[in-house]
């Protein structure tokens, strides 16, 4: 659609050329290229002209980029390196806009061109050319022929806003042009003017043009776009249509200004603008004021502050487009289509803004934008980008209930979109594909909802392949079930304002028993009354976790088990050790464990709240899939997966019976083979102690097939039995050999610790981990104080690993119950620990992450510039990631207060019978109180969107 980047790019670069300088009469020409087979003559003909657009005097090494636009409007980037010491320019052609990576690559190439051995360069080019592009956020390393250096690059994260100083273009633009002039250019771009940038230096020129184009995201410049204009194409400056052209100063001097007509000229060297228009003045002034204010806050502009300021301005201008979306029935067939109502778009907004909005409707840039959004909606694809996130945020502020509903709707879609695209696009692993299909089957209804089609039971799997071509889209996930919960919560708000809503309701009615029960629960959820926003958010977290497993199946099975016992310190030490000893042996990203900031904490929970015998009310059940760990360990490159996703929603039914819902998807793959795949749905109703359980166990016949254990109820055996060989004694054991665990632990640490992935950053898994009871108890207070808890790297990892999500909870009786439970604990001395590993992304990461960028409170948003984050946010984060200690307590409290239930007694007796761990009662209380406070603050929830 509107995007001008190519999709399905297979190679990092398309062609490398060395271009000899213009010499007297002789035009610049290509001296050599790789691959030799590259034969796009049009492009090859143009490359020398663009590489030497004019006579340039160069005293330092200079990088710049040019852009070639094919007739289908797609861009090919030419990354160029001028070295004053040589007579040639190095050019890499690519469809990918990753400036930093290619500039780095060019530097490596430059070193190799001076190498004595001619074959070195070609070998390196070949290696790079043939290397697969890693998934978003992941890194790949390519060894240079000298075997000493390695070219490592990390694929940029999707939807990440350009930030300072990481983004060279924006940094250059920001330093060359002041914010007022940036705003003028921004407004002129919105008015689709004819815009010229000029500079003596090609690097500054191309950087500024590229950067200002990035600043109108999510719009995309639709017209002529020439970051560096060669002299021979000077006539394009006369184009009657809009353009954005970077003109080297020597060329612009030779152009008759009269011929240019009405054109905006920005001189990036002296930071001056000549414009015949009053574009900035004619933008809605409150937008301008906000933007100006945001850009005045210099310290906050580091990171993606600049990008975000402009994005917010665009959101303020255009976010209302969602309210102008209507569902229309096509007369010719039964198709229902989402359409855009221009009138509504204008009239829904403040009067002061309307004149501009009417104008904006005429802009190509906006039409393409709307078309793209509609296309995504109508094809059942969500969108997950920063714009939608900011739009949600913005609409939150406006406090419209409708927007809230809509947000839920789009939010869910968005999540699925980005999640699956990555997995499917980048992975050839059949296990992943299988998982995706299965997941789709579960979530098929969401798509139909989106399309407005009738609900179907079966969806052709072929569609899944089709979707994967969409950059911002993806098939649906099984998380739908949960989403509908969130939706039900919005029945309080003005439901039915959109047909979509109705479909969703419809969907809900048709969903499984499980669904129904959840729905009942949500209607009773007292949280709804306090804060309608919270339930959907929790649910979304659940979705993410489920997707998370599907998407990143390459995690060693051990990870979870190990995680809780690894403190931040231990991770760090391991990393530093790794850094000393050289690069990671394996480029496979283990992002999960590589957050620059992560902390581990332990929560003490009465044992009975966790896995106990099935005759008691069960709040948790867990599943374990064991991976073939030894194989993983031996084969560094193998992609052994053992993923486990779990979410538990504890619900209150109308009759106040706790209902436990558990669904999990497990994937277990070894290399490219599906070893086992496991989906199970379980619902446990503790009231009548009945257990419903559906299990689908799929095992590929495989010589290496692993042990796959799955169980609904855990019989957790406490005591010394487990300490030596947990795998044998406990059904939850994943690894029977601690030594392997330790080894893998090491391994995982030596994988690149900094290759964080936005996904993982945004998916702070809640690992509820049952540790060996011999481990010291850690205080929940660590949640409040992010300083990492003590860790026990040597300790035997827990046998049980669960991702537990508490979807929702009733926290009415929170306080008394809390105190009670916490009092019980030290007395009985029997509580086990649950260690929770929370992966908290850096704030800057979270910011740029489209998935959970807004989890920090509003009041902190202005401080997003760095990773420094007020500690008070941490509890919020935990909550928003689904770790709601109220729920813990709630469940606990429910059990305790329900005198009719025998569970309480059992619980207490159990507590007395087992562990000797000391419990930090005080900290426990503190954390609970903290979480309670946070949950009562509505702003904590609204910001999440």
């Amino acid at each position: 659609m509107g995007s001008r980047l190519r999709e399905n790019v297979k190679q990092l670069f398309e062609c490398f050329c060395e271009v000899a300088q213009t010499n007297g009469e002789k035009q610049a020409w290509i001296t050599q290229k790789y691959p030799e087979s590259y034969d796009d003559l049009e492009i090859l003909k143009s490359v020398p002209k663009f590489a030497y657009p004019c006579e340039v005097e160069n005293f330092v090494v200079q990088h710049f980029s040019f852009v070639l636009t094919s007739i289908d409007s797609k861009w090919t980037f030419g990354f160029c390196r001028h070295d004053p010491k040589t007579e040639t320019a190095l050019v890499v052609l690519s469809a990918l806009p990753w400036h930093e990576i290619f500039y780095k690559l060019l530097n490596y190439i430059a070193t190799l061109t001076t190498s004595k051995n001619d074959t070195d360069l070609w070998k390196f080019l070949k290696d790079t050319y043939e290397a697969t592009i890693p998934i978003s956020g992941a890194s790949i390393s390519i060894l240079l022929p000298d075997s000493k250096t390695t070219f490592i690059y990390q694929r940029p994260k999707q939807f990440q806003l350009p930030s300072i100083p990481e983004n060279r273009n924006l940094t250059e633009y920001f330093s060359a042009v002041d914010s007022h002039n940036m705003m003028i250019i921004f407004s002129s771009m919105l008015y689709e003017r004819r815009i010229i940038f000029t500079s003596k230096r090609l690097s500054r020129l191309s950087a500024c043009v590229q950067a200002c184009n990035a600043l109108i995201y999510p719009m995309i410049w639709q017209h002529i776009f020439i970051p560096v204009l060669p002299f021979s194409l000077t006539d394009y400056l006369l184009a009657p249509m809009p353009f954005l052209i970077g003109v080297p100063s020597p060329i612009l001097k030779r152009v008759r200004q009269n011929d240019l007509g009405e054109v905006v000229i920005l001189n990036a060297d002296d930071n001056t603008i000549k414009s015949p228009f009053q574009d900035l003045e004619s933008l809605p002034q409150d937008v301008v004021t906000n933007l100006r204010k945001a850009l005045r806050n210099r310290p906050a502009l580091l990171g993606d502050g600049v990008s975000r300021a402009f994005l917010r301005a665009l959101v303020q201008l255009t976010a209302g487009y969602r309210e102008a979306l209507t569902l229309q029935q096509d007369q010719h067939n039964d198709h229902v289509q989402i359409t855009f109502d221009q009138e509504a778009f204008v009239e829904n907004r403040p009067i002061s803004m309307q004149p501009f909005l009417r104008k904006m409707l005429e802009l190509q840039i906006f039409q393409q934008f709307i078309e793209e959004r509609l296309h995504m909606l109508n094809s059942g694809l969500g969108f997950s980008d920063e714009f939608e996130m900011e739009a949600c945020n913005y609409s939150d502020k406006s406090g419209r209930k409708f927007m809230q509903q809509y947000r839920e709707w789009t939010y869910a879609m968005r999540k699925e979109g980005s999640a699956f695209i990555r997995s499917v696009k980048d992975k050839a692993n059949p296990a992943v594909k299988y998982a995706v299909k299965s997941v789709r089957d579960k979530g098929k209804d969401m798509k139909t909802v989106y399309k407005g089609l009738r609900w179907k039971n079966r969806v052709s799997r072929n569609e899944s392949t089709m979707r994967f071509h969409q950059p911002r889209s993806a098939p649906n996930s099984p998380t739908l079930d949960r989403r509908s919960i969130s939706f039900s919560s919005s029945t309080i708000s003005s439901s039915g304002r959109t047909p979509i809503t109705n479909y969703r309701k419809d969907l809900r009615l048709r969903s499984s028993n499980v669904e129904t029960s959840r729905k009942q629960y949500t209607t009773l959820n007292p949280n709804l009354l306090d804060d309608q926003d919270s339930p959907p958010e929790r649910i979304e977290i659940d979705l993410m976790n489920e997707l998370h497993d599907v998407i990143f199946p390459n995690m060693p099975a051990v990870d979870r088990a190990l995680k809780p016992v690894c403190s931040l310190e231990s991770l760090r030490s391991a990393w530093s050790g790794h850094l000393r000893h050289g690069p990671p042996p394996n480029p496979i990203p283990y992002e999960h464990y590589q957050f620059p900031k992560c902390f581990t904490s332990t929560v003490i929970v009465p044992e009975d709240l966790r896995f106990q015998n099935p005759t008691r009310p069960l709040l948790f059940s867990s599943q374990v899939v064991s991976g073939n760990t030894s194989q993983l360990y031996k084969q560094n490159n193998s992609s052994t997966n053992s993923r486990e996703m779990k979410s538990i929603s504890s619900n209150l039914l109308k009759n106040k019976t706790p209902l436990i819902q558990l669904s999990s998807i497990q994937m277990n793959s070894d290399l490219s083979k599906i070893k086992s795949f496991n989906i199970s749905n379980e619902s446990v109703n503790p009231t009548n102690l009945s257990i419903k359980r559906e299990n689908f166990n799929y095992e590929m016949p495989n010589g290496n097939s692993k042990v796959n254990r799955e169980f609904t109820m855990h019989e957790y055996k406490n005591g010394n039995k487990n300490t030596n060989n947990l795998g044998i004694e406990n059904p939850l054991v994943i690894y029977s050999k601690p030594s392997i665990i330790n080894d893998i632990f090491t391994y995982q640490n030596i994988s690149n610790p900094f290759s964080t992935n936005p996904f993982f950053n945004s998916f702070p898994d809640l690992l509820f981990h049952i540790e060996n009871h011999r481990l010291p108890v850690e205080s929940l207070s660590s949640l409040k104080h992010i300083d990492s808890c003590s860790t026990h790297p040597k300790a035997i990892s827990s046998d049980v690993q669960d991702l537990i999500k508490l979807d929702s909870s009733n926290n009415d009786d929170f306080d008394p119950l809390l105190s009670k439970s916490s009092n019980d604990l030290p007395d009985s001395n029997i509580s086990k620990k649950i260690s929770q590993s929370l992966y908290v992304p850096e704030m800057s990461e979270g910011l740029s992450n489209p998935l959970y960028p807004y989890f920090t409170p509003q009041q902190y948003k202005s401080e997003f510039t760095s990773c420094i984050q007020p500690k008070e946010c941490d509890v919020d984060l935990l909550q928003e990631y689904g770790l709601d200690f109220n729920k813990f307590n709630l469940s606990n409290g429910n059990l305790n207060t329900d005198n009719t239930s025998s569970s309480k007694m059992k619980l207490q007796s159990k507590q007395k019978s087992n562990f000797n761990n000391s419990i930090d009662k005080k900290s426990f209380d503190v954390s609970f109180n903290t979480s309670q406070q946070t949950i009562k603050s509505p702003s904590n929830w609204t910001k999440f969107d």
Binding site: I71, Y191, Y236, A239, M241, E362
Partner: protein, 224 residues
């Protein structure tokens, strides 16, 4: 036919730097119309490929330039082909904004291309300066299977205040005349409407060029 007031000067050997050429007027002409009506062929026929075709493959937008002489003045015609813009469902105002003339092309052997004219016109009327010179062109008159009689096209043009001409890019019929008439008309507008500015320009430093801006069109007339 009133006869051409213009004559084509011998095209100079092309230099790379068109913009530097000595010319008095520069007119920008944009062609619009459905895909397949022969817009590009019209331009190519007129310019005979004088301006290097194929930059469309690296810039995404193609244009041709031809320098002609009208009443002893050198006029540079820059003809922009919208071929690359067909990806837009509709072309919005910004596209026409600084064009001096719009050529709306349909295929006389293809009714749908004629039926789309109101849509095109709506866009043009909505967005483009209403003073822009508008020309309706029925192309492909070499075709035997004509579906739109000449008078239908004429009527339509008259109703909407446009010039009208039928052409055949294949046979080179009326192609040159089309562009020469446009050049002459634009120059006339430039001279009568822009006289004060023109005088100013001649006394200014470079003083060699003027572009017509707000040249008006007085109603409907036919080129022939």
């Amino acid at each position: 036919m009133k006869g051409l007031r213009t004559s084509i000067i011998q095209e100079k050997k092309r230099t790379e730097f068109v913009i530097m050429e000595d010319y008095k007027f520069l007119f920008k002409v944009v062609l619009v119309g459905n895909a397949g009506v022969g817009k590009t062929c019209l331009v190519r026929r007129f310019t005979q490929g004088l301006f290097p075709p194929g930059q469309g493959a690296t810039i995404g937008v193609d244009f041709m330039i031809k320098t002609v002489e009208v009443e002893n003045e050198i006029v540079k015609l820059q003809i922009w082909d919208t071929a690359g813009q067909e990806r837009f469902r509709s072309i919005t105002q910004s596209y026409y904004r600084s064009a001096h003339a719009l050529i709306l092309v349909y295929d006389i052997s293809c009714q749908p291309t004629f039926d789309c004219l109101p849509d095109w016109l709506r866009e043009i009327e909505e967005y483009a300066s209403n003073k822009v010179l508008r020309i309706l062109v029925g192309n492909k008159i070499d075709r035997e299977d004509r579906e739109i009689p000449t008078h239908v096209g004429e009527d339509f043009a008259q109703r909407h205040g446009m010039y009208f001409l039928e052409t055949s890019a294949k046979e080179a019929e009326n192609v040159e005349r089309l562009f020469m008439e446009i050049a002459a008309e634009l120059m006339e507008q430039a001279r009568c409407k822009e006289l004060p500015r023109y005088e100013q320009n001649t006394t200014s430093l470079n003083g060699k060029t003027t572009s017509i801006g707000d040249a008006g069109i007085c109603g409907c007339s036919r080129l022939s």
